[in-house]
């Protein structure tokens, strides 16, 4: 075996590594190993001078293998691969030892950390000797994008990709787009009417020649990889012929179930028919028949008043669900949030006392096109004389969600303003901390304070009913006293939670979720838009609770990612794949059963298994199961792993 020329580079990462690991000592020890011709430590290996140092050594000293001991390869492996390639060496002749995330940041004892770092580097040196050059595969990109979720983030992303001239498939689970924002009345801090700023965007989506909109639809399967996804979508029947429906609403007025079904769009504050138009500004402005309540669809018995009323003859009870398949280059996830169900905290009386409502119900109530035509009213139809707003219901609470939902302080302040504006009742805000961090937010808080709202620093602990009125029990912590404040209406400002089907969606798309249940980004600070799966991006509240400005910004950012892929026209995909040595293969076919991607087939002539490398994803499960050791996984073959194990345990 010919001798290699290995260069080992130990990064201090400022004091991040060097503060715990004795980098100089690691370098010195490693330098003593055979075949290591250069061993250097440096303050920031990922900096330009750091990379230049590696490149120069490759050129001048003829290095043929490189080990970088630094941060996680998930962070800078591509950086150093590029450095190697810049000096004419194949990028896969690099091995990284993770001495930051796996050593210096998790170990207190300096000596132990140095020892551990040294063994990881030894493992890398042993492994890198057996590395082989691999060519990365480049594949062309499909220049279409799929956006999943039609709330404000999804709309923003879809419009931006479409405006750049590329095709977008916008998939929405509900019968209309607009998401939660469509239900809002005013938006903080400027008090723009939500519909006034959202409706034009919704109309643009409906009219854009580049956007194909699928409502009542969900993604059921995703195949492929960045640049070349195949997405399967199921579209539920609306029982309405879209081409014929004029959105006149005659079917809704005729329906026998009229005013009998709680209307989701009004958060249950109004009643609708089984055939209905979701709301007056809905896009698409088409009727829908709700198959859970339609008498014909549930009991097969109805006078079919809707069919008779429909002048356009648009109703079609023979519709079935449709399966669509789309080829797309990237996927933008913008599935939004669910509101915390306040019934999970029975102490607040939600669902028990009719005048205890949640924030979204209040939004509908104040909305001019809402169930009360914009009047704030109690269950008996009168105006409240005093209203309490309780912050942090289901947020910042170990019993439910540990995180801060971020938007509730501001929306609570907005609620207070709207109450003052609509009916001049007394308003009591029960808060733990006021978090008004955005542009113009503190100023808005200040303005509402001046409107005479009572801010009580103390979390509302309980809502009781006493002598026909509601009573909020809390400690006024600035006063240091227990207080019971009687009010007529209580608004519970509930947490923003991951959507109920977030787990399923994550599994379908093969992405991760963070501990709080929201979809996980690649890097919380520097890469908040991409997921760990290339070509799948995040926008809006599906990543974490956000206000409208942030949701819009992230929607644009995700669109930019999609457009970047389209602009380059091709993507590099992982070259890691398995191959079979037909000499050693016994034809037992065990590997065939192990491969989820059906990449392995039996060659009927030779009776040996063969792997289709284009389909293979490189997981290596087949190699682990092959009894004759005939399968080799590039970059993760037995020899390489065994050498690394030997090294790290030495």
């Amino acid at each position: 075996m010919s001798d290699h020329k290995i260069g080992v580079y130990v990064c201090h990462c400022g004091s991040n590594i060097n503060g715990v690991v004795n980098c100089a000592k690691v370098t010195e020890e490693i330098g003593k190993l055979g075949e290591v011709v250069v061993a250097k430590d440096y303050k920031y290996m990922c900096s330009d001078p750091g990379q230049e140092m590696i490149k120069n050594d490759i050129r001048e000293k003829g290095l043929d293998r490189v080990v970088v001991a630094a941060c996680s390869p998930r962070m800078h492996e591509p950086t150093f691969r590029r450095a190697l390639e810049g000096a004419g060496l194949n990028g896969y002749l690099l091995e990284m030892a993770n001495i930051r995330e796996h050593v210096s940041w998790v170990t207190k004892d300096k000596e132990e950390a140095t020892k551990k770092a040294l063994s990881l580097v030894k493992g890398a040196v042993k492994r890198v000797k057996l590395h082989e050059p691999i060519e990365e595969r480049e594949v062309p990109v499909t220049n279409t994008t799929l956006v999943l979720g039609g709330g404000i983030s999804g709309i923003q992303a879809a419009l931006q990709v479409a405006e750049a001239g590329h095709k977008v498939y916008l998939i929405e689970q509900k019968q209309y787009i607009g998401g939660n924002m469509a239900k809002f009345d005013k938006t903080f801090p400027t008090l723009d009417c939500a519909a006034c700023i959202l409706t034009p965007k919704m109309v643009d989506v409906g009219q854009s020649p580049n956007i194909e909109l699928y409502t009542s639809s969900e993604v059921i399967k995703v195949d492929g990889y960045v640049g070349n996804f195949t997405v399967t979508v199921r579209e539920k029947p609306r029982y309405i012929n879209h081409d014929k429906c004029t959105g006149c609403g005659d079917c809704a007025s005729a329906c026998i179930m009229k005013n009998r079904i709680p209307h989701e769009f009004d958060e249950g504050l109004s009643k609708r028919s089984a055939a209905y138009i979701p709301f007056p500004q809905a896009v698409p402005l088409k009727a829908v028949i709700d198959d859970e309540n339609c008498l014909l669809l549930t009991r097969k018995k109805c006078t079919l008043a809707c069919v008779k009323a429909c002048g356009a003859k648009a109703i079609n009870f023979n519709q079935h669900e449709t399966i669509h398949e789309f080829k797309v280059g990237s996927i933008i996830l913008a599935t939004g949030f669910d509101l915390f169900d306040a019934k999970r905290s029975p102490q607040y009386g939600y669902g028990k006392y009719p005048n205890v409502i949640n924030g979204l119900q209040f939004e509908r109530m104040t909305n001019a096109s809402g169930p009360t035509s914009g009047h704030i009213t109690l269950a008996d139809g009168t105006e409240p004389k005093s209203v309490a707003v309780i912050h942090c219901v289901g947020s910042r609470d170990e019993n439910y969600n540990k995180y801060c939902s971020r938007v509730c302080c501001m929306s609570s302040v907005k609620f207070a303003h709207l109450v003052k504006d609509h009916c001049d009742a007394e308003v009591y805000e029960f808060y733990i901390d006021m978090r008004t961090f955005g542009k113009g937010y503190e100023e808005f808080y200040n303005r509402v304070q001046e409107e005479g709202v009572h801010f009580i620093r103390g979390k509302g602990a309980e809502v009781a009913q006493k002598d026909g009125r509601l009573v909020v029990k809390a400690e006024d912590t600035l006063l240091g006293q227990y207080r019971e404040i009687p009010v007529d209406m209580v608004i519970l400002n509930t947490a923003l939670e991951p959507r109920v089907d977030a787990e399923k969606v994550a599994q379908t798309l093969g992405i991760s979720r963070s501990g709080d249940g929201f979809f996980m980004e690649s890097h919380i600070k520097l890469d908040p838009v991409t997921t760990t799966t290339d070509g799948i991006y995040l926008a809006g509240c599906c990543q974490s609770p956000k206000d409208i400005p942030d949701s819009v910004a992230q929607g644009s950012a995700a669109a930019a990612q999609s457009l970047a892929i389209i602009a380059t026209g091709k993507v590099k995909i992982s070259p890691i794949s398995a191959s079979i040595d037909s000499e050693q293969c016994a034809g037992c076919q065990i590997c065939i059963g192990l491969c989820t991607y059906r990449a392995i087939k039996l060659n009927e002539e030779t009776l040996r298994a063969e792997i289709n490398e284009a389909v293979c994803k490189g997981c290596g499960t087949c190699a682990a199961g092959c009894p004759s050791g005939a399968i080799k996984v590039s970059h993760f073959n037995d020899d390489q792993l065994l050498a690394q194990i030997e090294g790290v345990l030495a």
Partner: protein
């Protein structure tokens, strides 16, 4: 047991969930014992008995295998194949005299940095109780290793087969 004994543990972690989980423990600056040495594979399904036996042969006192939670596997169900293989490997290790404390197979997601640290901590504690792994079979282990690995693979393959294809008989 011996207070000074610091077990050496090899961790074989899948790239997508567990390695990222171990990274998260780092970025969150959580402290856990330095006894573990991590080797990355793309999927926990890649881990074959040879790698585990090699670790014991090279003086490891314990081996930890970690993949994505069932249902969350980046490769759909590679971890399910790991799960099917684990009892066999565990039995094999017991047969050659390696205590059950020394081999652990767990699931750690990319968001479970804290859990990863706790698992390592617990494993170190458990192994400290059983003491250092002396090559009980002495050099014999080295000799039989290849043989054992081959038979383990066969046994594992036989198990896969139950759910998979027939040998073509």
């Amino acid at each position: 047991m011996n207070d000074k004994f610091e077990p050496k543990i090899l961790g074989i972690l899948c790239n997508w969930c567990s390695y990222a989980g171990a990274d998260l423990a780092g970025t969150s600056r959580l402290r856990y014992p330095a006894n573990i040495r991590i080797v990355k594979v793309m999927c926990s399904g890649r881990v074959e008995p040879t790698l585990i036996l090699k670790a014991f042969q090279e003086g490891a006192d314990g081996v930890l295998i970690s993949g994505c939670h069932p249902g969350d596997c980046h490769y759909v169900d590679g971890n399910i194949k790991t799960l099917r293989r684990t009892p066999l490997v565990a039995r094999l290790l017991t047969q050659i005299g390696i205590e059950p404390e020394r081999f652990k197979q767990v699931w750690v997601s990319a968001s479970e940095g804290e859990r990863f640290g706790k698992i390592v901590e617990q494993m170190v504690e458990d192994i400290k109780k059983v003491g250092p792994y002396q090559k009980k079979m002495g050099d014999q282990l080295d000799v039989v290793m290849d043989e054992v690995a081959a038979s383990a693979k066969e046994a594992a393959a036989a198990a896969e087969e139950k759910g998979g294809l027939n040998c073509g008989s």
